[in-house]
Symmetry: C2
Subunit: 369 residues, 2 copies
DNA sequence: CACTGCGATGTAAACGTTTACAATTATATA
DNA sequence: TATATAATTGTAAACGTTTACATCGCAGTG
């Protein structure tokens, strides 16, 4: 690998001049400039980013940790981060936590050792306390999808409670009374907040909160599938279900489809995040917009501002959540329920659990006003 | 930021000893070891990865360029790369090309300047020639989804032609004769190879190749939507469609759904890639497995081996493509076509294009053996 | 012509590690 | 006790940049 010295020698100038040309950091004679550029081309020379970092004390690297890049939610986030980093002349270092405590810590420590200009951290398993430690230590560290009051100005967040409230409220306004909730089994803020939103919406309409209608699992397609099976196996009537996120909702809908339960005619579904996936489902999924791209961008810009002690530019915007109406929600339909009474015995290949569910539906229908 | 010198001073040893402890590179007395570790904890010290890179001449960074991390296909790939990099003690630097020539070049140059241990490059717009230049220059650079014969042993690839052949062959074996193709408008190898697979399958069964049944667009959801509209607007009969990838297929299916054309009863659909998305669609999408995770992992391992001149370990495995049967394909059904004759006039809100399509369907049905 | 000021360039000291080599200390052996 | 050997530790020179400071040459001025 050629170094700046080789270029200097070939161009017949000093290393300082080469550095000046390559960084356009101060005026250089046209003559020297062309000589340097020529030598650079000839040697295929690229400044060594590591050496530069060492000398400049600025790594021009933004580090980001997410659970899993292949999760579409994080995919969008990372995309936005990379774009924002690029606009700042930075590169993006990506680490995955993969839902494991050990990996999450390793990811953060890794970013730490790279002395990143900014760190965007999404942590599922790390305690608030430990996270606070890191926040104190790294002034340009920004938390995403976490709320730690002591560092509120560095927490990029949406109002999850409001979002879920909007979703469930919409179901209620459509006429639903028995509304199940499929939550995330991770015990972090956004899971709790969305659950709180669900509760609050029920409460606001004096509807009872039934633990039998609530399940939780991993916030993945598989988690959604398991959760749906669990919920149906309980044989308790519900006409709608609010789901922690779109991915889980997709899993749930796949199970309903498989069991011959129609969405939205038999059960209305609402998700959260408004991923591309939501538009692809059949029927398209009503959901809550989660401005994840804006958040990723804002996080990167905030981190960079903090790094440069630019506390003016550093304020976070407000991130809007909004209900998006698609075709996965309709009013609960009495005629549908009645139709079903003809087929209360298990259909061919239908499991006991599903049969129980049908019976429950029919029962609930009879007891309706 | 504390340095290794601060730790050495606090622990009462030399910097070399600190380095030895922190790298477990050679034996150190238990006494010194604990003193160093204690000092490290006290100062919250982390070795500076940049300085280390400089001294060691190994960056422990794997660089990867993809078009767009939020594309589920690349999301899976990057996930696998990160995982493999982590297993090698490396970090992952991610750059996006975003389908722009300029950005793609910038991405590669960026990785170059970081002197990555390995580079995994997915390039859409860069010419073979230019890519060859880079390959010559960087011995541990690996191409993904590109085939350049001069560097075949560093091209991570599937047999796209075979994959698409399998897909179309399956449609034909189901009884389909009028099979449309929705391709990618990017002029790179895999697009061409998949198209070739489509052609080959038709040819193998002596079916005519009709340009009127072929469209191409961006390989995205939106591209799939546009392509579907274009195809339907032509008013030409087809009973099945093979699509460049699952994402486009999702867009196409959304359009069919919107127009009231049933999948698979009216039109069978087959995708490519076997993304999570394929399982979420309704009906679930038949597709071709694309072992993208294996490929990402293999690419990272190959790059790292090449970096260490370990040409033994460096051979690439064979990546299998396989047809995955799901419910988006059935035999073209005559009764269905006949049913439709009753509704040949445009339905309420139905566009002219769709009506033309229905008429074409009915016509094709009549002329059947 | 001497002097001032300025623009272009060069020199060399950082930046924070690793590691070859030298030096020191401890242990075993005669 | 002296010596050989092994184990541990320390010193200092890299690694490839940036940049403060010094130097040089030259145009403009008195």
């Amino acid at each position: 690998m050629p170094t700046i010295r080789d270029v200097a020698k070939l161009a017949g100038v000093s290393v300082a001049t080469v550095s000046r040309v390559l960084n356009s950091s101060s005026k250089v004679s046209e003559q020297a400039r062309t000589a340097v550029l020529k030598a650079q081309r000839e040697l295929d020379f690229h400044l060594n980013a590591n050496a530069r970092t060492l000398a400049r004390k600025d790594s021009e690297i933004i580090g980001v940790t997410v659970s899993d890049v292949s999760d579409p939610y994080f995919g969008c986030m990372v995309r936005a981060c990379e774009n924002a980093a690029h606009a700042l002349g930075c590169s993006l270092l990506v680490c995955q936590g993969l839902h494991e405590a050990e990996r999450e810590i390793a990811a953060i420590e890794n970013l730490l050792s790279h002395h990143c200009r900014g760190m965007i951290v999404h942590a599922l398993t790390i305690s608030d306390e430990k996270l606070c430690d890191y926040m104190r230590r790294v002034p340009s560290m920004v938390l995403i999808n976490r709320q730690i009051d002591a560092f509120a100005e560095r927490c990029v967040n949406i109002d999850n409670e409001k979002g879920e409230f909007l979703a469930v409220n919409q179901l209620i306004n459509c006429g639903h009374r028995a509304i199940a909730y499929v939550g995330s089994s991770h015990s972090i803020a956004d899971a709790k907040q969305r659950l709180a939103g669900y509760r609050k919406a029920l409460q606001a309409h004096q509807l009872p909160l039934s633990p039998a209608l609530m399940v939780a699992d991993e916030p993945s397609l598989e988690g959604g599938i398991r959760a749906a099976r669990e919920l149906l196996s309980r044989g308790i009537y519900f006409s709608a279900v609010a789901v922690y996120n779109d991915t889980m909702a997709a899993g749930l809908m796949a199970v309903l489809l498989e069991k011959g339960i129609a969405v939205p005619q038999d059960i209305s579904v609402v998700g959260f995040d408004d991923l591309m996936l939501a538009r692809c489902l059949n029927p398209p999924l009503s959901t809550i917009t989660n401005p994840v791209e804006e958040m990723g961008e804002a996080a990167v810009r905030l981190a960079s501002s903090l790094y440069h002690h630019d506390h003016q530019a550093a304020a976070l915007p407000n991130f809007e959540v909004r209900f998006v109406q698609r075709r996965s929600i309709v009013a609960p339909s009495a005629t549908r329920w009645l139709d079903r009474q003809n087929s209360l015995t298990p259909l061919d290949g239908e499991s006991k659990a599903t049969a129980a569910f049908r019976r429950a539906q029919a029962l609930a229908d009879k007891s309706r006003p």
